[in-house]
Symmetry: C2
Subunit: 338 residues, 2 copies
């Protein structure tokens, strides 16, 4: 059997699975940022008529999944696998959404790296002939994350300068073996990297080494360099993490600065009082499905190296004095032929 | 490209990836049960010299992973992907283990269904030529799970008759495209099923409908029936869930009783005061890697339908009055040729 391994951490998808549809939803704050116009649905407020923020997040994820399926002209029964996860303990948002959709389900946890984790696995299933269609999705909600990981919202805690604001948003894509849309050509899967950062208010620094490690592995495995990409994207490193990533990759001999964005830096304006930027599974999910995919479809971008970055911590690990490891998964997206 | 889909929820792995090594570790209580002799390592106590149970669980998972890699005569760098998850919030046990191992990592959350979830994905990666070797593992620890999901251990809370005891155990297997060992031939991926059970002390009832649904789907997709298997296994339904599963499948026309075991019923003796039986990711992980795989290797079993069952709940979902959906993933394991 023919190997699809390029070596190292990278595989090549010779059948070039297509992203045939996408959907994104955000909250008010995200709609007021520089990318606001690109998102498909904007919620009127953080509750959207539900009686808990957790229910709202479930409805957000369900909504983008159903719209992505509909946008692909498919029914739920046409989708062979659903890959999803979220930030909440035991990924309850994804579990309840999988219950509603009734699609065979692989639950994931990759913290904020979940979008490219789900796309990686969905694309492999399609490329290998194990699935005709796979649905890949994730979500986060400022209010559910804040009260689970940090403080009661009622407390009105101030953010540290290196802190990041959890994006209220969900994104979903359908990956398919037929149809039109951007192709997924390579997958570079991340290792867990830990530089010993223990500051939960500086997750950009915790995740930057993982971003650097996976990007470097990708270039080494493929023989490519930054100039081979129109855009290189990380998930939610924020302003500090983004600068760290540029510096660290420079030292490795890769200059990405002129073609590099971090979703966490793009989603909010500087006037929006979010300190270092956005974070959360939803951050790279909505920037990718709302903005980047549309720019590829419109022909403004031809080849994108897309990464989502995750900081791996729990309240227990933090209370026990553990450091915060990070991970990043990369996928290469190209404008489809013809 | 040739489809590997049998239809419905089942795929066939034509390259028959092999389980070339396995490793299991348990605590004292599990070592005193009927399967005690089959487990590779028995910890002297619940802490094993660490200063928190969470650290102990990390060491357990690391230990079985390293032993499985060693048992396969491989080095960490020979393993292309690590698929793992656990019960703890944000799967910190698996994250820290992935950090130690340095293998490209896909984090999973499937609650107690994680063992067959990880094997499903690892086997697909190998079968499709995306990996030469994949490491698939999971763990649970009575003390970390009890204090996260239920009560402080110091409180000495009594168990309900339908309650189940979280197994202290971890299991790991290496799936490979060459070498000797039992083959993985089919994968039936579960949907999330919810019959509205809200009793956190009756997770067998919450999971049984998911077990029934996936087993039924497997028989329908493959055209097989219970007689085609030497053994049909579910993960941790316990005594009540096991009976429910037999009854519900009988009503669907499938009589599995004479060839069916539940890992949660097998791992502890009736005198061990565990009420309805064992549970936790480690339950099916150690029974599968410690007991079932050895029985296949010894030739006592030729073809096994192996499922791990997960109850999808968090303390937040329970406090908010949500019901407990379940999921089960099935893999077919056959004695290797030659």
């Amino acid at each position: 059997m023919e190997s699809k391994r390029l070596g190292g951490q990278t595989i090549i998808l010779k059948n070039r699975p297509k992203i045939i549809s996408n959907s994104s939803i955000v909250g008010q704050k995200e709609s007021q940022g520089p990318l606001g116009e690109f998102f498909d649905i904007v919620m009127p407020d953080n509750l959207w008529g539900e009686d808990s923020w957790e229910k709202t997040e479930c409805r957000m994820l369900k909504e983008v999944c159903e719209r992505a399926i509909e946008g692909a002209n498919k029914k739920n029964t046409d989708i062979n696998y659903f890959f999803a996860g979220d930030l909440l303990n035991q990924i309850m948002t994804a579990n309840f959404t999988a219950r509603t959709l009734g699609i065979p389900f692989f639950g994931l946890f990759g913290a904020c790296s979940t979008m490219t984790e789900s796309i990686s696995l969905g694309a492999i299933m399609v490329d290998g002939g194990y699935a005709d269609n796979a649905l890949c999705a994730t979500s986060s909600h400022f209010c559910t994350a804040e009260r689970q990981f940090r403080y009661p919202l009622e407390q009105g805690t101030q953010m540290a300068p290196t802190g990041q604001w959890t994006v209220t948003g969900a994104g979903a894509v359908v990956v398919s073996n037929e149809g039109n849309g951007p192709s997924i050509t390579h997958i570079t899967t991340g290792k867990v990297v830990d530089y010993g950062i223990k500051d939960v208010n500086n997750m950009g620094a915790a995740m930057a080494p993982a971003a650097v490690e996976t990007i470097k592995a990708h270039f080494e495995d493929t023989g490519r360099n930054p100039q081979d990409y129109d855009l290189i994207v990380t998930g939610d490193l924020g302003r500090f993490g983004r600068e760290l990533t540029i510096d660290m990759l420079n030292k490795e001999g890769y200059d990405i600065a002129s073609r590099y964005i971090d979703c966490g830096c793009e989603i909010y304006g500087e006037e929006q009082d979010v300190q270092s930027g956005g974070s959360g599974c939803g951050c790279s999910a909505v920037v990718f499905s709302g903005f980047i995919l549309k720019k590829i479809e419109e022909g403004e971008l031809n080849r994108v190296l897309m990464g989502s970055t995750g900081a791996l911590l729990s309240t227990t690990s933090t209370q026990q004095g553990e450091s915060i490891p990070g991970i990043m998964h990369l996928v290469v997206i190209e404008k489809g032929e013809g």
